[in-house]
Amino acid sequence: MYVIDSYAVYAASALSFVTLSRYLAAGGMTVVGIPFYRNMNPHWTLTILGAISALMAPVPFVFYYFGARIRIKSSYAVHRHE
């Protein structure tokens, strides 16, 4: 929803890229999943996945505080001149 609101008119293009990347990755990982879980114990698999997602956890906060500035720099995003 953040993407849709940020890009208003171009939301479709932005969203289609987001959708593309996330389903490509999901598709790939589904195949990778079994060897992943099998070779490393579920313990380590989940640890790795947890670490990666912990890296990404601050993302919403980054956007919250810096979002307006990022959008001003962009040529496609909406920004209000406050």
Partner: protein, 512 residues
């Protein structure tokens, strides 16, 4: 079905509007006739008028003689661009028009081309929502065109003005389409052992059934947007769901492994369309503030799809039913959804509804110059398809927002989809739960959705407060909330919960 009824209702509304506006125009010109002022043809002035904006005060001065004919739609209408030339509906009884100032004293102004108009023009003033413009058609004819818009901001046929119940119904239908499409993606993971054994392939290869479906999603989502913006939402839903069902039949009856995963890819290709178009439907129906609760409503059901897939398929594996029943169940679900869409889903795309309005105007007035905004658009479908295909890839290089958000969501989805195959290792191997129960554990993930519902009222309140703050800062009213308010959903716990829960799950997974 419902769209057809909508189509007819629009026709009736247009008919009523034309009658109303004709009466209004008659009143205008009859008043001038009473005063016996000389008439003058405005024909020569048409070209000039096209370029000048009609002065707003001439509308204000119209209001007083029109008081008795004021219809509800005219109250508080913002001054809309008025047509300066009207279709030749009546004889050309040309009158000049005296102007009244606010004290109701009659001042007779010297008729200039700005204040003087005939009944035709009077009709043009009264035909609300029609705007005359110069357009160049594809055949390179330059001509006048009346661009049809809504009758006013309160037009009841405009999707934003529908009742709450209708809009929630339309949202629910769309979210069930999304549910049906996404449930099919994960249901095959529930029967993985049986499926792999049947075709004699390894389980890794068997997971291709899910993977190819998701890849089909990825590819198909790129194409859906421009189609729905030309042809309308309902047509897209109906056609793509129907084709999707055909490919599901192929999946269910596939005689070999290669055939099956090919059909899965094609099914995913056509199932992705409703997903992407659904976002458009939600935007059609709800204003930005209402989207705060409308979009979660859609997402709650729509994205519960991948979670319920394994639940639906959970006991198909161990039971005596063949794994093909996964596909047949999804086929039945898609059929039910298709029936609901055909019978009960209204068309929500505003531009298409305006096209129907223009079509009715054309039919009822016999004048071919009425056009909808869709029809005067300069870019063809093919051009827009091409733009839709390359623009996303251009945008990512310059847009950190898209890049980061897609990375974030990608990782979340990676985690989610490895779970499909991973639950087996986490639960079956360690705790010796049966295959059926393992897949039922997905309900737990759905339970994890519920805190979203609990935080929703709080976030809604915050969104309203934020909008009020925006109004104070910028001094304008009615602005949509800044995009960052949408992030609260993620910030309020989701972002933390994912890594925490992953670590938790990883290290408590012991037999003891």
């Amino acid at each position: 079905m419902l769209s057809y009824l909508q189509y007819r209702r629009i026709g009736q509304a247009v008919e009523r509007q034309i009658e109303r506006d004709q009466e209004k125009a008659k009143a205008l010109s009859s008043y001038t006739q009473q005063l016996g002022l000389p008439t003058r043809t405005p024909r020569g002035a048409v070209g000039q008028r096209q370029e000048t904006e009609q002065p707003r005060n001439s509308q204000a001065s119209q209001e007083s003689p029109l008081e008795k004919l004021e219809t509800p739609e005219d109250h508080g209408l913002p001054p809309e661009p008025e047509a300066t030339e009207t279709p030749p509906l009546e004889e050309e009884i040309e009158d000049s028009y005296p102007v009244e100032d606010n004290a109701n004293n009659i001042m007779v102004r010297i008729p200039t081309h700005r204040t003087h108009f005939s009944e035709r023009t009077a009709l043009g003033y009264s035909l609300t929502g029609v705007d005359a413009r110069m357009r160049q058609t594809n055949e390179s004819e330059v001509g006048h065109v009346f661009v049809v818009e809504w009758e006013g901001p309160e037009d009841p046929l405009k999707p934003h003005n529908w009742s709450h119940g209708s809009r929630i119904w339309a949202t629910l239908v769309v979210s069930f389409i999304a549910f049906a499409g996404t449930a099919a993606s994960s249901i095959d993971a529930a029967v993985l052992p049986q499926y792999a054994a049947y075709f004699g392939v390894s389980e890794v290869a068997g997971s291709l059934a899910t993977a190819m479906y998701l890849l089909g999603f990825a590819v198909g989502s790129q194409f859906a947007g421009p189609f729905s913006e030309t042809l309308g939402r309902n047509l897209i839903y109906i056609v793509t769901i129907a084709i999707y069902m055909c490919f599901l039949i192929g999946c269910g009856a596939a005689p070999n492994f290669g055939g099956h995963i090919t059909f899965r890819f094609l099914a995913g290709l056509f199932a992705s369309t409703p997903l992407t178009v659904a976002g458009g439907t939600i935007a059609d129906l709800w204003n930005p503030l209402e989207k705060t609760y409308a979009f979660p409503l859609y997402a709650f059901i729509g994205f519960a799809g991948p979670l319920f897939g394994p639940v639906i398929g959970s006991y198909i594996g161990p039971s005596s039913l063949s794994w093909r029943w996964c596909e047949w169940l999804m086929l039945i679900l898609a059929g039910v959804v298709l029936t609901i869409v055909v019978l009960g889903q209204p068309e929500t795309y505003a531009s298409l509804l305006l096209s129907w309005r223009a079509h009715h105007f054309r039919k009822l007035t016999g004048d071919d110059r009425f056009r909808s905004p869709l029809e005067v658009r300069k870019t063809s479908l093919w051009t827009r398809l091409k733009i839709a295909l390359w623009r996303p890839f251009v945008m990512i290089w310059t847009e950190p927002i898209i890049l980061l958000m897609s990375l974030y969501l990608t990782i979340l989805y990676i985690v989610l989809f490895t779970f499909f195959v991973g639950f087996e290792f986490i639960f079956t191997d360690v705790y010796n739960v049966s295959q059926g129960i393992t897949n039922l554990i997905w309900i737990a993930v759905f339970v994890g959705f519920w805190p979203l519902g609990i935080t929703l009222p709080i976030i809604y309140k915050w969104t309203i407060q934020d909008m009020r703050k925006q109004e104070r800062i910028t001094g304008q009213a009615g602005l949509p909330p800044i995009p960052e308010t949408r992030l609260w959903f993620a910030m309020l716990g989701g972002a933390f919960a994912v890594p925490v829960s992953l670590f938790w799950m990883g290290w408590t997974d012991y037999v003891s």
